[in-house]
């Protein structure tokens, strides 16, 4: 293999698994260390810069970082990255002084359709640069689905108000209760740029016999949740069936339990394990006495004279064809009717752009989705950008934020006369952590603790009040214990070939057998010859140039604990522990882009 180019910013970024997996590339270990030091406001600001909604995301994020977390490859559970984010939000001081100020107006106007996380992120990035941002939302308040869909027992209004407020206070104009009905009309208002963050607002229908007749008691999940959120709906029948296995279904069933549903049942077509809902959402539902029945396909709504009495299901089983594809085929068991008073249909979400006319220069594909560049988020109309659920279908908040940052950067570049598709590199700061012979400026002692559970409100109390937040969050002591579980993956092991005398000390001390001195070879061959088996080929090998004996140093990054013992044991300082602080470049960052430095 060729010697690893550690100067390429992605190399060490990948080693910070959580940050690499986070769509907004939040510098996770940095904020976790700040939490451990009790510097909650600093931890909050790191988050705020990257992911805009730390308090909201610390309660609701889909957490793609956690399955990626290195700790999960070393023991059973990853670090509770998400809930630590909430700790920063819960225990911070008043940080308003630290937020950017509305910049002097630059005379450019940007219209944003929809007031969800995608649009708000664009506004957050652009307003301080002097852009006049106008956010239009059909709903009266900002927040999009974070406000209208996510139940209050998971995400209280106070948190939404606070964090959407930080953005609107940057001089962003918010036009609530203002639905945009025509893109053409909007274009005619001569905004310098338009961002479409209108989400995926339509709940998928389930056309089965009885749907029309029993309509009064059959509700589309996301419409029903919005009605609950706005206070238009405050009760439901005693027996409720929820159809669907995603997170929306989990919010529906738990909401139903709080509005009078005594016997609430979730029924899914597939197997329990294949459900789309996050494992923790399923756990929470089951904890609230909601059974989840699987391999049952709804075939009819049963009603008597228009009054719903139950849903009939066919039992199925999974069969795999020659290509390994799964098919659900009837199991042969007789159909089953489950009696109920209400049904909540949560079988998917769709995009809909009835307000975008055909001849606006915005092309759509055969699935009626706009053609959007995945890097720049530009549509085929160079002035119009898409992001969040509106761009590529329903995802989640953190993806909406990531899209927002990228779209804001594109808008800023376009309106600064720069090439939109030339993207700046992330900003990287490197600093050795060595303080003394065996002293480091980070805590390199590895905590053996298991993942700490987040305390929950007593179930009886929680089920009585739909606004009572279920999770209470870590207290300071639990947070400290959990923070110590983080392995500081951003404190990188950096190797200097010229200093190494091949004494083997590092290879001997490494608790994870990461380091091997051996003859060079092709990657696949090298992976066979490591001290410990290489289980994850997606994790990079760090390969040195040739050493004195002609061998190379190969380090499998996979399960490195970043304990720094190699560097402590090295007699020559050939290993050093260096902190790589990697931050994405947002719109208006001082870091010059290529085209600017050329100018």
């Amino acid at each position: 293999m060729k010697p690893t180019d550690i100067a390429a910013p992605d190399y060490f970024h990948k080693v910070v698994d959580c940050q690499w997996a986070c769509p907004a590339h939040t510098p996770v270990p940095e904020y976790i260390r700040l939490i451990a030091q009790g510097r909650y406001s600093d931890a909050y600001m790191i988050n705020w810069k990257s992911n805009v909604f730390p308090g909201i995301l610390g309660r609701t994020c889909d957490r793609p970082c956690e399955p990626a977390c290195r700790r999960g490859r070393v023991e059973e559970n990853p670090v509770a990255i998400c809930r630590l984010k909430r700790v920063a939000a819960d225990f911070k001081d008043d940080i308003r002084q630290r937020l950017p100020k509305p910049g002097p107006k630059n005379g450019k106007r940007v219209a944003l359709v929809g007031g969800g996380p995608a649009s708000l992120t664009v506004a957050r990035d652009l307003a301080p640069l002097g852009y006049h941002c106008t956010v239009f939302d059909a709903d009266p308040e900002a927040g999009g689905m974070m406000r209208t869909q996510i139940p209050k027992f998971r995400l209280p209004n106070s948190v939404i108000d606070e964090e959407t407020g930080y953005i609107l206070n940057l001089g962003v104009e918010f036009k609530g209760g203002h639905r945009i009905d025509s893109m053409k009309a909007l274009l005619a208002e001569k905004y310098d740029a338009i961002f479409v963050g209108s989400g995926a607002p339509r709940g998928r229908e389930l056309e089965l016999p009885g749907r029309k007749e029993a309509a009064a008691n059959i509700h589309i999940g996301i419409e029903w949740l919005a009605n609950v959120s706005f206070g238009h709906v405050d009760k439901i029948g005693k027996r409720v069936i929820v159809l669907g296995g995603g997170n929306t279904a989990m919010d529906c069933c738990r909401t139903a339990r709080r509005l009078g549903g005594e016997k609430v049942t979730v029924v899914v077509r597939s197997g329990f394990d294949e459900m789309k809902a996050s494992p923790w959402e399923k756990e929470d539902a089951i904890h609230e006495d909601i059974p989840i029945l699987n391999y049952m396909v709804p075939v009819a709504f049963k009603h008597v004279a228009g009054k719903l009495i139950g849903v009939t299901f066919q039992h199925v089983k999974a069969e795999y064809d020659a290509k390994g594809r799964r098919n659900l085929v009837p199991s042969g068991d007789p159909d089953q009717t489950i009696p109920c008073d209400d049904v909540l249909v949560a079988v998917g979400q769709e995009n809909a752009f009835p307000w975008i006319e055909q001849d606006c220069g915005i092309e759509f594909d055969k699935w009626h989705m706009p053609k959007v560049d995945p890097k720049t988020f530009a549509s085929t109309n160079p002035k119009v950008f898409f992001g969040g659920d509106a761009a590529f279908g329903p995802k989640n908040i953190i993806w909406a934020v990531a899209h927002g940052h990228d779209a804001a950067l594109s808008i800023h570049k376009m309106l600064s006369g720069e090439a939109v598709d030339e993207r700046p590199l992330p900003e990287v700061q490197i600093s050795s952590q060595k303080m003394g012979i065996h002293e480091w400026s980070y805590d390199n002692d590895i905590s053996p603790d298991k993942r700490y559970k987040v305390p929950h409100r007593d179930k009886v109390v929680a089920l009585k009040d739909i606004r009572a937040e279920v999770e209470l969050g870590y207290d300071v002591k639990l947070a400290l214990g959990e923070a110590h579980r983080c392995l500081n993956c951003d404190v990188q092991t950096v190797f200097s070939t010229s200093l190494c005398i091949e004494c083997d000390a590092c290879a001997d001390i490494c608790p994870m057998d990461c380091i091997t001195f051996t003859a060079n070879g092709e990657e696949s061959d090298l992976r066979q010859r490591l001290k410990a088996p290489s289980a994850h080929p997606d994790q990079d090998l760090y390969v040195s140039s040739d050493l004195k004996t002609g061998r190379v140093m190969v380090k499998d990054e996979d399960v490195c604990l970043h304990c720094g013992l190699c560097a402590e044991r090295c007699p020559t300082g050939a290993w050093d522990m260096q902190k790589y602080f990697i931050e994405m470049t947002h719109a208006g960052s001082t870091c010059p882009t290529k085209s600017r430095s050329a100018a």
Partner: protein
């Protein structure tokens, strides 16, 4: 010195041996030696060899003298018996322990100061008696622990860190061990685990006095230009006569070397040593030949390494003395001391 406890976490894919242990289970406390010390690599090699042999740690007694090298038994086999004795006295403590309980595996760990100076006599007598043990000298050419004075194995003409030339002749412990009748004699280098680990494993399997001289650079006081025990010097002058694999139990290692280049030595405990010859003329069963070979190469400034001599049929001290099979420490008091009537009889037979 190191500082944080070595984390208990280990690589999730670590292989386990026949006892279900990973090599991490054979570790001891974290080393307090200087970073980069050759002795730590020998520690790692002992760990590896014991792991590969699936040795039960409680069946091992590790005995040492005084010196950085003699501190190392604290850093491996944390669940074994240990005795950190007086300077140079490891061989007699080991001999006594071995007499009392012949059932344990004896690992004697010593330094060049410990064995070639103050303990030279002790070293000699344990070897000539054929104590069943693995005697490892971690040879750095200096008294590391007392800050780097030349030891008796330092080569004449080699230079100290401060530039002083050594004017005394060197003791070659391997040559002495051969001359004293050691039945397993090897030399290796701490920086070459692929050679050292199987040598230690083979020595443990050998019945009789096994002696391994391991050149082990002292990073603090003897790793400079002018030293003949530095990493660079040893790498440049290393002349390996053979390499070996130890084949244990039902785990046959596929030996796919060219015919005629491999010699299989069957050991007393049933294990086999597959010797890959590097020097075609070298015969590890020829004690006299080994002695002249060593002398000739030493004169050329070469450091001969590998398995230099082995007698697979060797006997040990217990056989020489015709002691009972049962370890003495397991015998009842009336068997050990049958009383004055028996003593009178013996005395009478000698009159």
């Amino acid at each position: 010195m190191t500082y944080i406890a070595k984390p208990k976490f280990h690589h999730p894919g670590l292989k386990k041996n026949a006892l279900g242990y990973t090599h991490r289970d054979y570790e001891g406390k974290i080393s307090t030696l200087c970073a980069g010390c050759g002795h730590d690599s020998i520690t790692a090699s002992i760990i590896e060899a014991c792991y590969e042999l699936s040795i039960e740690p409680h069946r091992v007694a590790k005995i040492s003298g005084i010196g950085c090298s003699s501190k190392t038994p604290d850093y491996f086999l944390g669940n074994s018996h240990g005795f950190n004795s007086v300077h140079g006295r490891m061989p007699s403590v080991l001999t006594g322990a071995n007499l009392a309980n012949r059932d344990l595996i004896y690992l004697g760990v010593s330094g060049d100061g410990d064995s070639a100076s103050i303990g030279f006599g002790q070293f000699a007598h344990s070897i000539r008696r054929g104590v069943n043990m693995t005697y490892i000298v971690e040879n750095n050419g200096v008294y590391g622990l007392t800050k780097g004075q030349f030891s008796a194995t330092a080569d004449r003409g080699s230079k100290s860190k401060k530039g002083v030339t050594n004017t005394d002749n060197a003791i070659d412990l391997v040559a002495i061990a051969l001359q004293l009748g050691a039945t397993f004699v090897a030399r290796s280098f701490s920086g070459d685990k692929s050679q050292l680990v199987p040598l230690i494993a083979a020595a443990i399997g050998h019945k009789g006095a096994s002696f391994i001289d391991v050149i082990s650079p002292c990073i603090a006081f003897n790793n400079h230009a002018g030293s003949t025990k530095s990493f660079d010097y040893v790498r440049e002058h290393n002349d390996a006569v053979n390499r070996l694999d130890v084949l244990v139990g039902r785990d046959p290692i596929a030996v796919d070397y060219a015919p005629g280049t491999v010699q299989v030595v069957e050991q007393h405990d049933g294990s086999k040593i597959a010797l890959r010859k590097i020097d075609a003329d070298y015969d590890p069963h020829d004690r006299l030949g080994a002695q002249t070979f060593l002398a000739r190469h030493a004169a050329k400034g070469q450091i001969v390494t590998g398995l230099l001599y082995v007698d697979p049929e060797a006997e040990d001290l217990h056989e020489h003395l015709n002691t009972v099979e049962t370890p003495l420490n397991a015998l009842e008091a009336d068997t050990l001391c049958p009383g004055s009537a028996v003593l009178d009889k013996i005395n009478a037979s000698l009159r």
